[in-house]
Assembly symmetry: C2
Homo-oligomer: 224 residues x 2
């Protein structure tokens, strides 16, 4: 399947400009005609289209909830998941090093390239075609979205819970970091000052591990 056929199947559109699609699929490791500028543009158009869709779908959500719903849809790991579903990795053009280093499977490369494709679509076909493409790709996610998912993240909820009951704030301690530079695994402990609750979390960033640890402590406190 060539890139235009793939684009049509997944995004429901074809570009007039083959070279632009080619560029959107070119990681910076292939040289100077790469997708970084398109990613800048695509990121912004995705933010706008998702925001307007959320605004319309959730008339009762406040701006904090809308923001959290947006983050849940457009954060890097979520976009990488979308990219995997639409087999974007197979279409990517990577330099030799990245190709052998597993670049096709890396979250950041997948997420950035997904945004770059949206940048190419908006340039070539305009904002309404790009909106339609985004809503097509995200259709199932929007349909499945519930306002309850707009919860604050575990670290914030834990902090608010402790503050509310006058207890001291938790400490997050890095216990372990293993793996290669581009595939690190972090283990973080969340410790409450009075020593009653301690839990560990694991994640592919320090932040993710902290959130997992906070979530485990919330569970211990009966506030999952």
């Amino acid at each position: 399947m060539d890139a235009q056929q793939w684009l049509e199947r997944q995004f429901g559109c074809r570009l007039n400009n083959d070279a632009l699609l080619h560029q959107a699929l070119s990681h910076r490791s292939v040289g100077s005609r790469n997708n970084e500028r398109l990613e800048f543009l695509g990121d912004s158009v995705l933010g706008y289209v998702v925001s307007e869709e959320l605004y319309r779908r959730f008339p009762d959500a406040d701006e904090g909830q809308l923001s959290r719903l947006r983050v849940s849809l457009v954060k890097g790991s979520a976009l990488a998941e979308v990219a995997r579903e639409i087999t974007l990795g197979e279409q990517l053009r990577l330099g030799v090093g990245e190709r052998h280093g597993g670049g096709r499977r890396r979250n950041s490369i997948l997420a950035d390239s997904f945004e770059a494709i949206l940048g190419a679509i908006v340039l070539d076909l305009g904002i309404e075609a790009c909106r339609a493409a985004i809503l097509k790709v995200f259709h199932a996610r929007f349909e499945g979205l519930k306002l309850e998912q707009a919860r604050k993240d575990p670290k914030t909820r834990l902090q608010e819970l402790l503050q509310g009951s006058g207890r001291p704030l938790p400490e997050y301690v890095l216990r372990k970091a293993t793996g290669e530079d581009h595939a690190r695994i972090f283990t973080v402990a969340c410790e409450l000052a009075d020593g009653r609750e301690v839990a560990e979390g694991i994640g592919d960033s320090r932040r993710a591990a902290e959130q997992a640890a906070a979530s485990a402590v919330l569970e211990q406190l009966g506030e999952p």
Copy 2:
């Protein structure tokens, strides 16, 4: 001048829905029908329109430069400045406390309300009318924009300069914070570990004061 006349003069458009414009001009201090959801939407549409315009105007800029140019246009203090130019403060509806506390002149309220107006425009008139309104308001700023303005911020430049010559990183020390909660003035010193260069900066946030201090040190180092 009523709100619609003001909108037409400054943004070149009128809304079909009076109530929506009214809401966009209502700070949360007036009650629950306020402009916070519209601000969420307007922020995203502004980001998209400015990004696409920058992408087209600066074909040779890399994504880092584009990002910095975008920040220079859409950061809170820049939007507050735009809001002042178009006398947005006079149109705002504030609760009693905010009205007496100088809310009409506060950067955050001005910037947020400016975004809320864009949110109302895109909902009422669509994205192309909103794009035209944004480009009208930002016309002189876009015309005056130069790629050289896409410089990294002073703290980053200072850090890179020091790292490049193997010198230790600077320390930023809060020297003073004066004024009321909503109008604080910070004084920060930037100290180089070897004590040769020290300078102070002043700003309305700690970060702004740090940037001013870094800028003064860059000056001392002959790298303004």
